[in-house]
């Protein structure tokens, strides 16, 4: 996190030197986005806080943790394919889940399917590409996401 802050600071300085006006527009744009997304982030944090309080940690670790095995992946892949969560919320959530004891491989499958497969957005996709192409794309991406997820998992297990 410190590194990211340093990168951001360097980017702002470089941008200021190059063009002061553009920099302000950029910072303004970013701040507006932040304010817009903040209510959603806070309310998700609230819901997650309540759910994590109600669910015992052992249960999460048992079904989604290191030793969870296959069921963890299946759950992550289904949740990831169906859910429609913007990354601004998905990543903080993933970070919390990792700290609670969910294993990195399970998180990897969840994140990759979440980003690559969109079951809820399928109707929109069909309008642009037609039924056949949309179904093929999502199916191929589903398996692609699983492969990426499993490979990431391998790197964490080994």
């Amino acid at each position: 996190m410190e590194i990211l802050t340093i990168i951001a600071l360097l980017a702002i300085i470089a941008s200021l030197i190059a063009d002061r006006r553009k920099t302000w527009t950029g910072i303004k744009k970013g701040s507006v986005m932040f304010v817009k997304i903040l209510p959603a982030i806070v309310s998700v944090l609230i819901l997650v806080s309540i759910i994590l309080y109600l669910l015992p940690n052992e249960l999460i670790v048992k079904y989604l943790g290191e030793g969870a095995g296959f069921t963890g992946y299946v759950f992550a892949a289904i949740a990831g394919s169906i859910a429609l969560i913007p990354g601004f919320i998905a990543y903080p959530l993933a970070g919390i889940l990792v700290k609670t004891g969910v294993s990195y491989p399970v998180i990897a499958v969840f994140i990759t399917t979440l980003m690559m497969v969109g079951i809820l957005t399928l109707p929109i996709e069909i309008k642009f590409f037609g039924v056949r192409v949309s179904l093929i794309r999502n199916t191929l991406y589903f398996f692609g996401a699983l492969i990426v997820g499993f490979l990431i998992g391998l790197f964490y297990i080994l």
Binding site: A11, P39, V42, Y91, T112, K127
Partner: protein, 177 residues
């Protein structure tokens, strides 16, 4: 401000209800309420509130500095490797959900982008958008992010090639909605 209120009706309801719940919990010393606030919510919130503004400023700066039109000119049918690289950079610079990428693919298709490049655009949009990567690094770490990016790239290019092979002799078009 009005727009934000309108769009976040449910979110504000949750926030207000939670605030009341926490306030009551503290005043009557209700342990679960205090614990949810202190051990769960506050510890998550504290970490994010410092971190998120920095990321959004980075995203805003990226948005201002990257010129989309220039890139769009060079990703046609015979664009080869250069086209692939450009289309990846183009989609990396975008933000927003996947369904926001579809209208862009329509524009690309109309401008003559190849089938392969259209699907590479979608793939890169899904997996390696810079705004997402900054979040990913922040919350899941460099190792995770680098691994996922490096593993995803060949797979989305491969899928795009498969899509192109399959659709080449079939009718393929992107519709305007």
């Amino acid at each position: 401000m009005r727009e934000i209120l309108k769009k976040n009706c449910l979110n504000f309801l949750i926030i207000v209800a939670f605030t009341v719940f926490v306030a009551v919990s503290f005043s009557i010393d209700y342990y679960p309420g205090k614990s949810i606030f202190k051990e769960q919510f506050y510890s998550f919130f504290k970490e994010m509130i410092l971190f998120l503004p920095i990321m959004f400023i980075l995203i805003g700066l990226g948005d201002v500095w990257i010129n989309r039109e220039k890139v769009e000119k060079h990703i046609g049918k015979d664009s080869g490797l250069k086209g692939i690289i450009l289309v990846i950079f183009l989609s990396m610079a975008q933000a927003g959900p996947l369904y926001g990428a579809f209208p862009v693919t329509y524009l690309l298709w109309k401008k003559g982008a190849s089938i392969r490049n259209i699907f590479i655009y979608i793939g890169a949009f899904c997996t390696i958008k810079i705004p997402m990567i900054t979040f990913e690094i922040g919350f899941l770490g460099w190792k995770f992010s680098i691994l996922r990016t490096l593993l995803s790239l060949p797979i989305i290019i491969l899928i795009a090639i498969i899509m192109e092979k399959y659709l080449k002799n079939r009718k393929f078009e992107v519709h305007e909605v």
